[in-house]
């Protein structure tokens, strides 16, 4: 226990007596963590953009106006049995008519034609949403069976298939890019931390050798540097988190305008705070400790 307290004392002494070096190390770690958080924010926004595009996509199945309720229910149950299907919205004839009128309320000619017909010419509609855009094709193909040919008048997917495929391609590419960028960032972060710690240890290599020569064990020499890595990680994490929160507070209102949803980033950070801080702290601390132990190997052989 005494040795542990001494190690903490040496760590604190080192931090304050090498203040400029400690300060620069913390600054570099903060910049690195800010870069990681920028990537996190970009990922959240990319995901949001992709999912909001995907939300716009659905398949509408238009039934003939004389299709029986029983048959329509059968189709609904059949479609609902696919695990890929996320949501089915059924609109009966009256609802479809109401929606049609609402849609064309500024077009008196169309509304007049409808009046002239005297009765509702529109059939019920079923709107299907799948979990993934790539699943739409499967659902529409599943509906292309002779049994339903007589009751299904048309499906919208055929018209929008190309657009959906294109969106699917774009979202796939964006996701791939985000994944690659994350790996690149992880590699850059590794080298930044590794070299920062190595430079710190290198600047103190003579002291490390002296400590060994006056009888310090390897853990007595390593200990303070590990405690320093812990302290630097906590300080840089605290400051970078504070700066990220300020940044989010500033940009969230602008993002709300784009996505018509408020506090997207704040909510994301609040609900993932433990995971985000845990991963960032664990990453920085373990990396700093690993770099520290690696950089000291030569001096500890003295």
């Amino acid at each position: 226990m005494t040795a542990f307290f001494r190690i903490i004392k040496f760590a604190l002494q080192d931090i304050f007596r090498n203040f400029s070096l400690s300060f620069m190390t913390v600054i570099i770690l903060i910049l690195m963590l800010l870069s990681v958080n920028i990537l996190v924010v970009l990922n959240v926004l990319t995901d949001k953009a992709i999912s909001s595009v995907k939300e716009q996509i659905d398949v509408s199945v238009y039934f003939s106006y004389d299709a029986s309720e029983e048959k329509i229910k059968e189709v609904k149950d059949y479609v609902g049995s696919f695990p890929e299907v996320n949501e089915i919205i059924y609109l009966d004839r009256d609802e479809v008519l109401l929606q049609f009128k609402e849609q064309y309320k500024n077009n008196p000619d169309i509304l007049a034609s409808l009046e002239e017909l005297g009765e509702n010419p529109l059939g019920p509609t079923m709107i299907i949403k799948t979990k993934e855009t790539k699943d739409y094709q499967k659902i529409t193909q599943a509906l292309d069976i002779p049994e339903y040919e007589s009751i299904i008048e048309s499906k919208t997917f055929g018209d929008t298939e190309k657009a959906i495929n294109r969106i699917q391609n774009i979202t796939d590419q964006v996701e791939k890019f985000a994944y690659m960028a994350s790996i690149l960032f992880a590699v850059i972060s590794f080298f930044i931390i590794f070299n920062t710690v190595r430079a710190t240890i290198y600047s103190q290599r003579i002291e490390i050798t002296i400590k060994k020569l006056v009888g310090a064990s390897n853990w007595f020499v390593r200990g303070p540097y590990i405690i320093e890595a812990l302290i630097f990680s906590l300080i840089s994490l605290g400051i970078s988190y504070f700066l990220v929160m300020i940044g989010i507070y500033i940009i969230d209102p602008y993002i709300a305008i784009i996505f018509s949803e408020s506090n997207i980033l704040t909510n994301y950070y609040n609900s993932n705070i433990i995971l985000l801080l845990g991963i960032q702290f664990g990453g920085v601390f373990l990396l700093a400790m690993f770099s520290c132990l690696l950089a000291m190997r030569k001096q500890l052989k003295a």
Binding site: T2, Q13, N18, E207, K211, L213, V214, G215, A216, S217
Partner: protein
Amino acid sequence: MIKLKNVSKRYSKDSIGLDHVDLHIEAGEFVSVVGQSGTGKTTLIKLLIAEERPTVGEIEIGGWDITKIPYRDIPYLRRQIGVVFQDLKLLPKKTVYENVEFALEVGGTSYHRIKEIVPRLLDIVGLLHKKDKYPYQLSGGEQQRIVIARSLAHRPKILVADEPTGNLDAVNTQEIIEILKKINEFGTTVVLVTHNKDIVNQLRKRVITLHGGKIISDEKTGKYRL
């Protein structure tokens, strides 16, 4: 106390630190090791504190065979041998007091004992009034005295001094030698590596002369002969 049996240290084919050296130093002796630069004096010290290992031969200190000492045991060995390094090896970011204190802290000495020992050691070397200064604020002689105080922290049975007066003027040199003599009088074995002819002649103690990594003379009350 210190036994070297047929010890050689080769760095490469052409670079020999020590060459088949047999040496026996008794407890309480004051031995001067002399020789020109590159004759193996510093190699001898490095072997004694296990900073290096012999290529062949055996080294025994206080009955402990340190020839193949495991790395984990080296700190224990170093806490039993006081070393005054040629290049001082003071911790620049620690005060005079802390430099001496550090040697005790690494050995697990309690703070209570440290508070007793360190002021006493600093008093012996005449630096108690400068205990809060940093090494760079002191003269070369004063820095050398911190090193001596630190080397005595564990009350070692052996004190090895590698050119302790190398960069000092005559007055400081004499002071350091007087301190070493006093330490020897208290029963500590002192191994002094030096170039200084006047010191060796004045001491009138055992003198071992090295040349080309070999012991070429070993006299009970010798003189500097190179």
